[in-house]
Symmetry: none
Subunit: 193 residues, 4 copies
DNA sequence: GATGAATGAGCATTCATTCAT
DNA sequence: TATGAATGAATGCTCATTCAT
């Protein structure tokens, strides 16, 4: 499997660095190849085209978020705590990989509609786990019975996303991690049963 | 003043249509000129360059949002009602101009960092009016005294934005206007004093 | 006659200034119009097209050179002295109008082949007066009987021209007028009978 | 080194032909590429931009002149003979490559000031070799002791240049080579000690 | 005569992708 | 597998000229 060979990961990681440092529109395939230490042509042994690199970046990195939430979902804690850990985990991953934060919050959003639709498919898996937490909360009474799951999910994700984007746009100069409790409180209040 | 001459508005409106129908990267100046019914060169009598067209689109259209909220802010109604009308007005404008919805939620976000920074400056005026509503709410007790204004603003705007983007990405196939009450309720719960 | 109306001269003089200060390729018709204090369209009441302005610049200014040499030619002095006065007069005109020097030595030479051919036609009148001096010199024995007139003219004009161009390219920072005696001596030696 | 690869020379030679046949302002990069038998993009693997092609044309071709004079300078012949061979060599190169003659005498002079300054830098090397011959002549008494080197160089180069330009402008319809003895005689007379 | 808003043809350059080695 | 030289399509902007007023 191509994805298991070392150059695959090398290229994905190079792409994150190149995009973060040069911006989406200045992230040429040749720059990524150079950063990865391979020839331009080698990229095409591992990826179908440039779009495939970008989707792979998103998919590979999104897997980290998904894995974390899967663990959280199985833990024996209440819904509010699960949401807190999800928010906190989300913030932590981007807090610890600042290149990745720039790429997901600013750069990849400059991609064209088609690419963003494909990115959204990858994102869907993450949002379904969020839905699972919310549904669980409704069942066990932690969240408002009449809650519209889709809107609730949009509020949770929209708030998290907007908070991180603001932080990145302010050059990550304050401590993102410190915001999780208040973000959690705002969100919970909105949905509490 | 150039902005008052009829061709200025003609070109801005043409740009919205062309971008919505062809996508940001396929919105060539010549296409915009053709849609506006003027020669390519005429564009440059009214706009410094292509970026200037795009910023003008955003500024001209954002003015509609800003004007609405300015009116709402001065009305003799409580904070919760002001927020409801703001959300409802925001939804209505994009509900009634579907081209504009595509442009603001999907296409203009593909612009490069520099253009987005300039777009953000325009957006700031709108967000400051939102801040004014929130501050008023804290003073008159409608909102939680300890509310972090920046986070609250990010929740309100993030939720609105995410809701509209979802609607646009689903090809505007459900009724956006019907969502305002529930979005308002979610948001208010999160911030209620 | 158009050439006698004041705006004609205004536009020609404006062209010299604009070309000298902005360079040939940055001397747009609209800049010349502005410098002359007329509307763009007015230019076309006096000149057929842009090329016509440039040829007119050359023709009007060349007339000054031609008039001077015509006077010199009729004077009751020997050939060597006539050549000296011609060189000295040529140097003086450009020494006294530095804008014109830049325009004739550097800027107008960037024009296309066709324009330069037309400029050469204007120049021909001047070169024919030079030929007249040389022929007179051969007849009266001041110059070598076997002298090839065309080559001699090319040496005289080539040397004058190259000397002035060097001076302009060195930002006119030494005194051009002081060079006439030595230039005259070099040239005369070459042709002396 | 790029300059040693065959396509480099191919492109430079194609540029000479295209410029000579179409004129400086009609020498589009795509025409040069086509003449050279390469793709447009290939040009940019060998040259930074269009200006770089033009400078390279001048530099590569000027090298031929320089090499010839370097050989002449070292020969065991007197100053007058060295000057003759220089003039004759200069005439011969352009006599044998009529495209090149058009390019150097007419077309490249239409380039903008910046490009001409860079061309002049390349030319300087050639003029310094001419200076060397003149200095040698003064030392060994062949040339006038009081000769102003700068003026003398300007006369020699100005005369050669004007002679060739006249020949090119007359569509090269007479035999340039036959003029070298008389040009040499005129020049030598001017400077003889 | 004088104006100046409108016109529209024309071109250097980038970069994702291929394929011979 | 890996290379990297070669490809070629695609576009924002300028400015000489016109013509309705």
């Amino acid at each position: 499997m191509k994805r298991d060979r070392p150059k695959y990961k090398q290229i994905v990681d190079a792409a994150v660095i190149v995009i973060a440092e040069n911006g989406y529109h200045q992230a040429q395939v040749s720059k990524i190849a150079k950063e990865a230490g391979v020839a331009d042509g080698t990229i095409y042994l591992y990826f179908k085209n440039k779009e495939d690199i970008l989707i792979s970046v998103f998919r590979e990195k999104m897997a980290i978020f998904v894995n974390n939430v899967e663990v959280i979902l199985e833990q024996d804690i209440d819904t509010s705590e699960k949401l807190f850990r999800m928010i906190d985990s989300h913030f932590r991953i981007l807090h610890e990989d600042r290149h990745l934060a720039i790429v997901t919050q600013l750069e990849l959003r400059q991609s064209n509609k088609e690419l963003r639709l494909r990115i959204n498919e990858v994102l869907k898996e993450y949002l379904m786990l969020l839905d699972a937490i919310l549904k669980e909360g409704i069942v066990n009474g932690a969240l408002d019975e009449g809650l519209d799951i889709r809107l609730a999910r949009q509020m949770v994700f929209g708030t998290i996303d907007e908070t991180i984007t603001s932080w990145v746009m302010n050059d990550q100069k304050y401590d993102l991690m410190k915001l999780s409790p208040e973000v959690h409180r705002l969100i919970m209040n909105g949905m509490k049963g």
